[in-house]
Each structure stands twice: as C-alpha cells, then as structure tokens.
Symmetry: C2
Subunit: 221 residues, 2 copies
Amino acid sequence: MAQQHLDGRRVRGDESRRVILARAIDTASVDGLEGLTIGRLADASGHSKSGVATLFGSKEQLQLATVAAARDVFIERVVARARARSERGITRVSALISHWLAYSDERVFRGGCFFAAASVEVDARPGAVRDAIVAAMAEWEDYLTVSIEHAMTAGDLPDLDDARQLTFELVSFLEAANTRSLLHSSTEPYHRAAAAARSRLLSLGADPAPVSEIVGPETAR
Amino acid sequence: MAQQHLDGRRVRGDESRRVILARAIDTASVDGLEGLTIGRLADASGHSKSGVATLFGSKEQLQLATVAAARDVFIERVVARARARSERGITRVSALISHWLAYSDERVFRGGCFFAAASVEVDARPGAVRDAIVAAMAEWEDYLTVSIEHAMTAGDLPDLDDARQLTFELVSFLEAANTRSLLHSSTEPYHRAAAAARSRLLSLGADPAPVSEIVGPETAR
DNA sequence: TATAAATACGAACGATCGTACGCTAAACTG
DNA sequence: CAGTTTAGCGTACGATCGTTCGTATTTATA
C-alpha cells in the first residue's frame, strides 16, 4: 500500500504540508478557496512564503490539496463514523444524516461545512478546483444514494424508482441548515433539518425507530 | 414620495450608480461580493477608478449598494410577478416557488441566485454586509411564511403549528437546485426541486391542481 | 453673485498578491 | 563519491488592490 522506502525528504515535506493544510481547510471554510493566500498561510504555520509556494507549486495546486484534505476530514467525520455505528438499511441512512448534522454543528471546519461553502463559491467558475469539488460532492451523494438503495433492498423503504430524488431532498435540508446556522448563530436550523428528514422518511413508511435517531444538536450522540 | 426638486447632480450620479450596479450584481453572483473590485467595475462601465470610488465612498458601501440592487431585482422577478399572477392561498405559494425556479434557471444573475451565493459567502464573516444579506433573506422567508399562513387560513393547507418549518423545507429545495444546476450545468435539479415541493405540499393535503403548477424549466411560465 | 455640494478625473500611496530566481542543506540514487 | 531531488529561505518582480489628494466642472443654494 504505502511506499517501501520512506524518503526522509518527502516525510518532512508531507508533515509540513499536513500542518499547512490543517490551517487551509479552516481558512477556506470561512474566506473561501479564493481567500486562501500563500503569505497568510506561511505566517500562520511558521514557514516562509516561498517555502509554502515550493511545497504546493501554485495557488491552484494548493487549493486542490486543500479540497483533498477537507475530503479526508469529511469522510472520517461523517461516512466512516456512520459506517462504524450502523448497519446497512434505514439505520445507516439515519446515521449519515445525524452525523452530517453533528459534523456541521460541531464546526469541524470553522466556517461550517467546507463543501457547502466551496461548492457555492466555485459553482459558476469552471476550472480544476470546481471539478474537484464536483467530484467530491458526487462521491458523497452517490454514497447516500447507495445507502438509500440498500434500505430499499432491505425492505426498510419502498422501492422508489429514483433514489436520487430522495438524496436531493435530504442533502437540501442538510446544506440549508448549515448556512442558516451560520447566518443566525443558532442551532435551530439543525432541528428543522432533522425534523424535515425524519418526516420525509416516515412519509415513505420507514420504521419510526431508526428514523427517530436523526437528531439535531443538544441531544446528538 | 420622491423629492420635490430633482437635483441634477444627484440625477446624474444615480444614473451612473445604476449602470455600475447592474454590472456589480452580475459580477458578485459569480465572483462573490469580495470579488467585486472598483477598478474592474470602472473599466466595465466606462468610468475612472476614482470616479467609481467617489460614487460609492468605500468598498463596503459598494457591496451594500450591490445587495440593495440585487434585492430590487429579486423582488421584481419573484415576489412581484407571483403576486401579480396569483391569488392568496396555495396558488400563491406555488407561484412563489415556480417563479423562484424560473428566476434561477433564467440566470437573471449570471451566477444564479445572488443571495444563494452571497449568503454562503458571508455566513461566517460578521459585518454590515452580512447583516444586509441576513435582512434580505429574512424578508423573503417571512413573505413565504406569511403566504403559507394565508393558505392555511384559506383552508388550502392544514393548520400547521409552525409554518416556518415548511418554509425551511421549501427554500432548502430551491437553493439546492440553484447550486446543483450551476455545478452540473443542468436543468434537472429544478425538476427535482419542483417535484420535491409538489410532493411535500400534496402530503399536507393541498389541492393537487394549484400544486401541480409548480414547474421546472422547459414548461415554465 | 459668491458659496457649497456633487460628479468625475488623474495621479499617487502603501499593501498584498502569485510567481520566479538563486541559493543552501539534507537526503536519496547511481 | 558524484549527481540529483526535495525542502526551505530571502529577495525581488509586476500586477492589482482600496484609498486619498488635488483639481476641474456642473448644479444648487444663500
């Protein structure tokens, strides 16, 4: 899997990149990917400006590395945790929703969901960065769609002809809650999103028990 | 209402501001309010850089004027048109949704809905610009909520204890459709949003006839 | 008619941006 | 051991940013 011979130079560089990217994902979630600047990242991480520039090559490559780092965090906080704590079926779908809300509410990124911010920033601007955001979001929505299809196969949900429609509706609630929580400095939107997702799944005849585990903040965990 | 004595100087300045702001709302919908620059607006509108600076005073005031100009466009394209073409009740609610989708789909702003872009940009950045965005969005959501309450009073919808919950769900669909249409250069998300809103209203027992008038692109109008 | 206000311009300011160049030190490769 | 690659720094470049200043022009006001 990993390289056989660890290159000490690359190890050092990877660690530097790791530290810098940890700052970058927070900064970008607040100021946007365009708001990332090499100079400020250098100051914040104790490197020189040209050092940061060397480590990433160009601003666009820095942005792409930031997207990749944010994707790792998202997968760990939402997908991996939901997988570890739920079985396939409606329970998994509920867990994905609940962990997404917790991920946004807990401000894993300082400016809320990184991809909610980035997708809106780049949606009208073609380029490699936009392509990376599109790919990451498609990955997430595909995973949620497959999870819904598993719930259908398990008989937890009726056989919808278009699981993607339900995915669209659920992620709509999640992203709207993220933005409104930030705009109004309130956790109420998370409760609204949880209630909306719950009632939508119940309207499809899902088992009320796992669906009721879609929770907003306060009671989350 | 208006001033009695028109000041010829102000008339000239207002016209200049009008032309500049027409560019600004399009630019901001693509590059964000922070992406607005006085120099580029000057070039695009045939004014000098210092001329634009004089007309607006500061960049923040330019951003605030841009938000106000975008609000005017939104009210005309969505609220005023829906009011003119529908009666109070579920018909009005459907019209608001349908006109919102058309407003986004027709790219009244080059980068899609101005407020969808701006709200996500400023949601984690306190300041006067964010306050203006919050106020404009609250105005819109309040209007939709009141329209829902009118539909309830008219008996078109059951008496929900919380009309704002339905508002949250509906605007979630609209904004998600806007972003996804831009990200994927597709009109499909508008059909998804229309279908989602339709089925949500039908699940509340609304009259299928006016609800079916919530339409995506192609068939819109 | 004198004064003030508003539009508009050119020029310049200090700051910050992304990038490039030259260089050193360390680590790997033949 | 010689040569190459990578990390990292200092410096400098041209571009663009928001803002300020001085000045001219037009219009309104006293």
